[in-house]
Amino acid sequence: MPQSEQTTYTFHVHGMHCPACTLLIEETFKELPNVAGVHASLAEHQVTVTGDFSQPPERIAEKLTELVKAHGYTISLEKSQKGVGWADFVYALPLALVIIVGFLALQKMGLTNLITSSDVSYGTAFVLGLIASVSTCLAVVGGLVLSLSAISAKEGGTWRTQTLFHVGRLGGFFILGGTVGVLGNSLHLGLTANIALGIIVALVMLILGINLLDVFHFTKRLQFTLPKIFSRHVVAGSKHDHYLAPVLVGIGTFFLPCGFTQSMQLYALSTGDFMTGALTMLVFALGTLPVLALLSFGSLNIAHKPWKGIFFKTAGLIVIALALLNLSNALATAGIINPLFNF
């Protein structure tokens, strides 16, 4: 029997979530002496291996698993029966609803009436930040933070990813706040851009929320991940921690549609001074930090608990609800539909 025949096998990969993962798997398998070609596909959760194998496919799968087990992947012949975990919804659905109703009740309480002064000091900016972080802005900024950090925690991101996000946010508010002050020109977007941004953020949240539910698999294709060429540089250093992306997302929150942020920006621009503008925005961002940090580090912590399935599904449901709320709000502002809610 000729043993040097090239055969191609397709295996299923369990635990593969990111473009960097496909690279890692490809690089690892390529190092095997009898492997001629490897192609891993994220969308299919498959890896195709071409080479000279003398063993039955079951044994190859076992051998390949040994190589990547440390990274959390399992190679198998059969598509692993991935439990959707419907049972988790028994707890997740009521839990998510309680939180959403609580959030709505919080809005009805009239938190904005706590602000009595009409001029902005650093103290007011901090209080405004605190209020903003539990106000309707939470639907936008908080929803995005929750979905991104839960997804990141789910994919094996560490505290570093979350910290970088917050550092990016604080730094971004400082520098952009100062820039606004010096330019005396508002950086906040016009109405059309605001509505467009609102719709984009809502759609991103919707996709991330559906991903968190882990029920449908088609959204994995739509998931916003870094391009493969970019991951190639990151994969060498660390498997899951991207450095630039969380910082950029953190800075980007400066432009998210939130009334409080825009008010602060207007004040910063009226100061006409870099330091005053920068510090006002920084203090405001610091005010929003406790709630946002709780969301991101909380999800990171829970991601390793036994009841994480319930948490991810609860988070997913909340994020989807907030995404739909943001979407209806954006469409109402555009004058396309009548407002459905009034807080």
């Binding site: 939130c258 409080f260 407002p339 009034n342």
Partner: protein
């Protein structure tokens, strides 16, 4: 069906209906004091802070109208005023009064005003 699933579904339904009742309940009363007529001009007064008050105003149609929006320490979304029908958009000062003219031709039907992110709204019903 197990008991847990049944309880879960009941609790969920209760919460969903509760939330809708909560969020859609018309809080603003038709406030006649918000409308006054000075020198043949109709003036509609609305205050903006944590929402718009009153939420629904009944006004006369086809009359030159001025919408007067006053802010008082307003830093939230309601400072960012949008009126789609007038193609009006402005970020109001935290404290002050903004006068928006509405021509007799525009003073027809229902005019919707919202904050920039769409969380708060008000209606002027011209009739």
């Amino acid at each position: 069906m197990s008991k847990a699933i049944l309880i879960s579904i009941c609790a969920s339904l209760l919460l969903i209906f509760g939330a809708f009742w909560f969020a859609s309940k018309p809080a603003g009363v038709d406030n006649e004091t918000a409308v006054s007529v000075v020198d043949g001009k109709q003036i509609v007064d609305i205050s903006a802070k944590g929402g718009y008050f009153p939420r629904v105003v009944l006004a006369k149609a086809g009359m030159p109208t001025v919408l007067r929006v006053s802010t008082r320490g307003t830093f939230d979304c309601s400072a960012s005023l949008v009126i789609p029908k007038l193609q009006y958009q402005k970020f109001l000062q935290p404290t002050g009064t903004e006068e928006i003219p509405i021509s007799p031709e525009q003073a027809q039907g229902t005019m919707q005003g919202l904050c920039g992110m769409g969380m708060y709204n008000f209606q002027i019903k011209f009739q």
